[in-house]
């Protein structure tokens, strides 16, 4: 019997440690599914380990935090320390999106997949340059053509969108009805 390949059951602490190491090296948020595949453990085991790790960071008031974003888990710094981090990295916040680009993005996020004429209807202005900006920044992507006259291109938000706006998935966006109520109260 080959002792090398015999699988020793791992302790919970060990699983938590490996999960931490994997989340640390992953370039993009890493999913529970992928973690489970690599560790050859059940999904539930990984979920528990992630939960424990998240609590550990919180408990010791670490400068890092484990959070769920864009369908996976990621280690990031805590927002409170942005000033010191910027000072060290010598960076400034990225240029903000223009109002027009943000509005266009909001329409696309809630109405996706959506065509350019549909966006025009809601915004009341041509949005070509805003759409180009969003495509360049990879916040939106083409999602096939609509089977209607002219077969216009449809757009939807990307994974990059989830990352830049700190969302687990699209369902985490507040419901559009909340904003309708706000609109009626002006």
């Amino acid at each position: 019997m080959d002792l090398e390949t015999e699988k020793q059951p791992r302790s919970v602490g060990e699983i938590v440690a490996i999960v931490e190491a994997l989340v640390f090296v992953a370039d993009e948020p890493i999913s529970i599914k992928l973690l489970a595949e690599i560790l050859q453990e059940d999904r539930e085991v990984i979920e528990a380990a992630v939960e424990q790790l998240k609590n550990e960071y919180q408990y010791r008031e670490s400068g890092l935090t484990l959070r769920e974003i864009a369908g996976g888990w990621q280690i990031s710094t805590r927002a409170e320390f942005h000033e010191e981090i910027r000072k060290f990295l010598k960076t400034r916040p990225n240029a903000k999106l223009s109002l027009a680009a943000l509005e266009t993005l909001a329409v696309i996020a809630y109405k996706q997949p959506v065509t350019v004429p549909e966006i025009l209807d809601i915004r009341g202005v041509q949005s070509a340059s805003a759409i180009k900006t969003l495509l360049d920044k990879r916040l939106i992507a083409a999602k096939g053509r609509k089977e209607t006259v002219g077969r216009p291109m449809q757009y939807g938000t990307s994974k990059e969108f989830l990352m830049q706006f700190g969302l687990k998935d699209l369902s985490e966006l507040p419901s559009i009805e909340d904003f309708e109520d706000l609109a009626c109260s002006i």
Binding site: D27, T77, E80, N94, A106, G124, Q126, A183
Partner: protein
């Protein structure tokens, strides 16, 4: 600044009339205009300014204000998007519909559709997405304060795998731009000095006795060569080595070796 035209319904002179939307300086107006991405934005702003209820828009008043604004934008040479004019037409249409007497019919009053209904729906939808975009703005601000680890080199994150058609296009454009620069360099290598041009010109005139100026310039390949040749001709005329001959008005000028 246009003259005041009191007869025109929506004439506006901001020296004499000062609607509350217009404040001290032109610059400020310009700044405020910049915020109105479109006609719906402007309308929402006016409705708030008038403290009107969105479900009962005083259409005559809002239409007047809207047209004043458009007029003002024209006076300030702010190019107007066609969308603004379409909205102006819509407002006037609604206004006129509301002025028309209602037909007497059996339909109860509540069931007659208000001419403003469609506009209100659009305004509400627009405001909804404006609110949503504010939420996005807040989220991105918070997110910008959060940092993740830098990239670790691995096969998977190598750029070749991750690039899209757009990246390819960008690279292609860069290469094209570089190529253009190379061509420019080649031309520079062929560059001629004024002395060389003078020498060349003198030799040609010595050989052919006379040259047609138009043909001489046509042989030059670059803008710079043409300029140089022209200066060289002027120089030769100044020093008296050549004479100029023009046989007809607007006719060709011929350079002749002076005797």
């Amino acid at each position: 600044m246009e003259q005041q035209q009191p007869t025109e319904q929506f004439s506006f002179d901001f020296q004499t009339e000062t609607p509350h939307i217009v404040r001290q300086s032109r610059d400020e107006i310009r700044l405020q205009m910049g915020e109105f991405a479109g006609p719906l934005d402007l309308l929402l702003y006016l409705i708030k300014q008038e403290q009107a209820n969105i479900f009962d828009i005083p259409i005559a008043r809002i239409t007047d204000e809207y047209l004043k604004y458009i007029r003002l934008m024209k006076n300030l040479d702010i190019s107007l998007a066609a969308d603004f004019l379409v909205m102006a037409a819509t407002l006037i249409e609604i206004k006129s519909k509301m002025l028309l007497p209602r037909e007497i019919s059996d339909v109860p009053e509540e069931e007659i559709e208000d001419p403003r209904q469609e506009l209100v729906d659009r305004l509400l939808e627009h405001q909804t997405y404006k609110n949503a975009s504010q939420m996005l703005w807040t989220r991105s601000t918070v997110e910008q304060a959060v940092f993740t680890r830098g990239r670790i080199e691995s096969d998977e994150n190598n750029a070749e795998v991750n690039s899209t058609v757009f990246d390819l296009l960008k690279v292609f454009q860069k290469i094209l731009a570089q190529h253009k620069e190379e061509v420019l360099l080649e031309i520079e290598r062929e560059e001629m000095s004024l002395a060389e041009m003078l020498k060349k010109l003198k030799q040609t005139i010595f050989l052919h006795k006379q040259i047609n100026l138009r043909e001489l310039l046509r042989e030059m390949h670059t803008r710079q060569e043409i300029v140089l040749a022209f200066i060289a001709v002027l120089e030769l005329v100044r020093t008296g080595s050549v004479n100029l001959l023009q046989e007809a008005i607007f006719g060709d000028i011929v350079l002749m070796k002076s005797k």
